[in-house]
């Protein structure tokens, strides 16, 4: 007779349970991405509604933002996310040195992105900050920066553990690598949306 006690549940051990856990993680991540991108959309709505309270955008007397550095930053981030993806494929194919190279490059490019955006954030002109043109720019880049920073740190942690061999033994065991990569893709997609809204939609 099985005796049941209300305590810790037994940990799933077999293959099937691991596969189910991976399936759950993937669906959970997809839902999280679909959900949290809405917060970024909310800020796009903010930008959109506020720009229509001005006769022109950028408002009279405010210089439009320079395009060069933000565009370079965007390029760095997009390259970074592609490298993260390539690294993920390499990780699954057990090509450890290629994985390591891709992710190191990706994190370096990610850091370049962060530095450039931080510079943009810091150098908004006083004229722009007196209007919503500058304020919504700081709101959006700042909100994005916090996410990028946290997830870049996560990439670093996962990278170090992966190199140390923590995630070997099949797709389910490598979920952390896949999950971190997906979060970095999220950061990239969110930024590209912001980049278009902030710098191209006039």
């Amino acid at each position: 007779m099985t005796s049941i006690s209300h305590g810790q549940k037994p940990k799933p051990r077999d293959q099937q349970a691991a596969a189910l856990r991976l399936k759950n993680n993937r669906l959970g991540m997809n839902i999280f991405q679909a959900s949290w991108i809405m917060a970024f959309f909310a800020l796009i709505v903010v930008n959109w509604q506020l720009r229509y309270s001005y006769a022109q955008w950028p408002p009279m007397g405010v210089q439009p933002f320079e395009l060069l550095l933000p565009s370079l930053a965007t390029l760095a981030l997009v390259s970074s996310t592609l490298l993260v993806q390539r690294g993920l494929v390499a990780f699954r194919g057990a090509q450890r040195s290629l994985f390591s190279l891709c992710w190191r490059l990706a994190m370096a490019l990610g850091s370049v992105f962060m530095v450039l955006i931080a510079r943009e954030f810091a150098t908004v002109s006083q004229a722009a900050l007196a209007t919503q043109y500058g304020l919504t720019m700081r709101l959006m880049t700042g909100f994005h920066f916090v996410h990028a920073l946290v997830i870049l740190c996560l990439l670093l942690v996962v990278y170090r553990r992966a190199v140390a061999g923590a995630y070997h033994g099949g797709e389910a065991a490598g979920w952390a690598v896949e999950g971190a990569a997906k979060l970095w893709h999220f950061v990239t997609v969110a930024w590209v949306l912001f980049y278009v809204v902030l710098y191209w939609l006039r």
Binding site: S3, K9, K23, N24, I31, M38, A39, F41, A42, Q49
Partner: protein, 562 residues
């Protein structure tokens, strides 16, 4: 036709009477990843907040017994009182209360042994107590005075630090809600055992699925709005300040894009409960099962397109008619549910249990709330009664007459499963009578004073409305008193109620195909769902139910334990 699933009877040995025991009360005070424990944790904490919010409602009605200020020292004190009442009831009572039933019941109904993300689930619950402390603490510093909707400039220029704490607390609650909902969606989609197809899912699961989809897609907008509010309050930005190029209507757009769908977060699970309770207690299949499941999805979808009806008086005129139309369209999926419920009980063998009484109470009250909703959707009428007690009446008919009645129905219905003991039916009926009439005479007259022009959110009113307000006040005290009857009943029944057995209502859904309370793993073996979760009244169903009874004959709560 029916392959009689002989479900559970043929399964491996079941736990004997001695193995079925309740978790110790102390387990509810600790971190636990068991969804049944978490469900009870949600339930008890949100009911405590119901009592807190209810005490505030009593203070509001006490103040309004006379047209002048008496209980409150100032209009500002009254403002912070109703602000806190609304916030506590919505964010700390109704939304987490549905997480309580969702947590306890949904995995069992699916036949799942666990949820997809138990740790995330527990974390989502444990965010609520700190969030509640932050929100309530605000009441004791310089309180928020802007109502639960926190419109700027009331929430930026005229509220104290309590408003900042309010926004921080609401942020935490939003994160909790998103995490809990991700867990629900993945559980419902991935954790169903063999044989439990989407179209065999009980309707509560459909409703929780729709609710969770709304929560994950809408709540980030609340996060966005609260971020802006916090920045305006503490960082000197001017997003809501026209003198700095901002726009006060910005808040209303972003906030209602979350908060209108949030209305369905509060009522959709109640609609799911109603389908369960009405079908089981009238021994008839749910009329139009698939349409009811799909109408939950329909409400979730259309619910995203109606938010600006909260802003009819401040909206650009050309947008009013489109939002009026989408708002009225919501009545279609809601009407499908209404007629389905009527069709379900029509000609049924109705048993007037307490759960059934509250479900019927929901039916009668929610139809009034729904009709006043359509009235308010009509633009000319809305402008006439804008910001009057008619609106207060409407949303209390939906949120009390709807959600709270459904919460009580769910409580009487699933209490035996949670505790292994039945609730007292006599006290249940008394509770129902006090609640039903207390509610009706509290909120129905508000329609009348609203149409006569009494504005909401005021402590001092035209003496012409005094008698109406005295009727409302006295009925409100009766309604407030009624919640102590159910508290007594719950405590009494927990210790002294008759032992329930596995399936006291003879229900076909899977939460009843295990012991009461269920073991930690919910089921000893994967249960085999009956082909139709509501297929009552056939010989096959009777055979299935007999098999369940036979399986768990010895599986009841041992009468010596408590």
């Amino acid at each position: 036709m029916a392959t009689i699933a002989v479900p559970i009877g043929a399964q491996a040995e079941q736990p004997g009477a001695e193995a079925v025991r309740r978790p110790a009360l102390s387990e509810y005070l600790r971190w636990s990843v068991d969804h049944k424990i978490i469900g009870v944790q949600y339930g008890i904490s949100s009911f405590l907040f119901f009592l807190v919010g209810g005490a505030m409602a009593m203070a509001i009605r006490w103040e309004l017994l006379t047209p002048a200020l008496d209980l409150m020292v100032s209009g500002s004190a009254y403002n912070s009182l109703f602000t806190m009442h609304g916030t506590v009831m919505i964010f700390l009572f109704i939304i987490p209360m549905w997480a309580a039933f969702g947590n306890f019941v949904v995995p069992l109904q699916l036949g799942a042994k666990d949820m997809a993300f138990p740790w995330l689930n527990a974390f989502a619950f444990w965010l609520i107590p700190p969030a509640a402390i932050v929100v309530l603490m605000g009441y004791f510093v310089t309180p928020a005075e802007a109502g639960w909707t926190s419109y700027p400039p009331l929430s930026t220029l005229f509220s104290g630090d309590g408003q900042t704490l309010w926004a921080l607390g609401a942020h935490l609650l939003g994160i909790s809600s998103i995490m809990g909902s991700i867990n629900f969606i993945v559980t419902i989609l991935n954790m169903r055992p063999e044989g439990m197809t989407l179209w065999r899912m009980p309707l509560l699961c459909w409703a929780v699925l729709a609710t969770s989809i709304i929560a994950v897609m809408a709540t980030p907008f609340l996060a966005g709005a609260l971020t802006l509010l916090l920045l305006d309050r503490v960082a000197g930005t001017t997003f809501f300040d026209a003198t700095g190029g901002g726009d006060v209507l910005l808040w209303q757009n972003i906030f209602w894009f979350y908060s209108h769908p949030a209305v369905y977060i509060m009522v959709l699970p109640g609609m799911g409960v109603l389908s369960e309770v009405l079908s089981i207690h009238s021994r008839k299949p749910v009329f139009g099962y698939r349409m009811v499941g799909l109408s939950s999805m329909g409400i979730a979808f259309v619910g995203f397109t109606v938010w600006a009806h909260h802003m009819f008086t401040s909206l650009q005129p050309e947008l009013r008619i489109p939002f009026m139309i989408t708002t009225m369209i919501i009545a279609v999926p809601t009407g499908i549910k209404m007629f389905s419920w009527l069709g379900t009980i029509w000609g049924g063998k109705i048993r007037f249990t307490s759960a059934m009484l509250f479900a019927l109470g929901f039916l009668s009250m929610f139809v009034i709330g729904g009709i006043t909703g359509v009235m308010l959707a009509a633009l000319p009428f809305d402008i006439h009664v804008h910001d009057t007690y008619f609106v207060v009446s409407h949303f209390h008919f939906v949120l009390f007459g709807g959600s709270v009645f459904a919460i009580y129905a769910a409580l009487y219905h699933w209490f035996p499963k949670v505790t292994g003991r039945m609730m007292n039916e006599r006290w249940g009926r008394i509770h129902f009578v006090f609640t039903y009439f207390g509610f009706l005479f509290t909120f129905f007259p508000m329609h009348i004073v609203g149409m006569l022009g009494m504005p909401r959110r005021v402590a001092v009113y035209d003496p012409a409305f005094t008698q109406w307000n005295q009727l409302i006040g006295i009925s409100a005290f009766v309604l407030g008193f009624s919640s102590f009857i159910v508290v007594y009943n719950v405590i009494h029944s927990y210790f002294r109620g008759p032992v329930a057995g596995a399936n006291p209502w003879r229900a076909l859904t899977l939460e009843w195909a295990t012991t009461s309370p269920p073991p930690v793993t919910n089921f000893i073996d994967d249960p085999i769902p009956y082909e139709n979760p509501y297929g009552y009244g056939t010989e096959a169903a009777t055979a299935y139910l007999d098999a369940v009874d036979e399986t768990f004959r010895h599986g009841g709560l041992a009468s010596s334990s408590h």
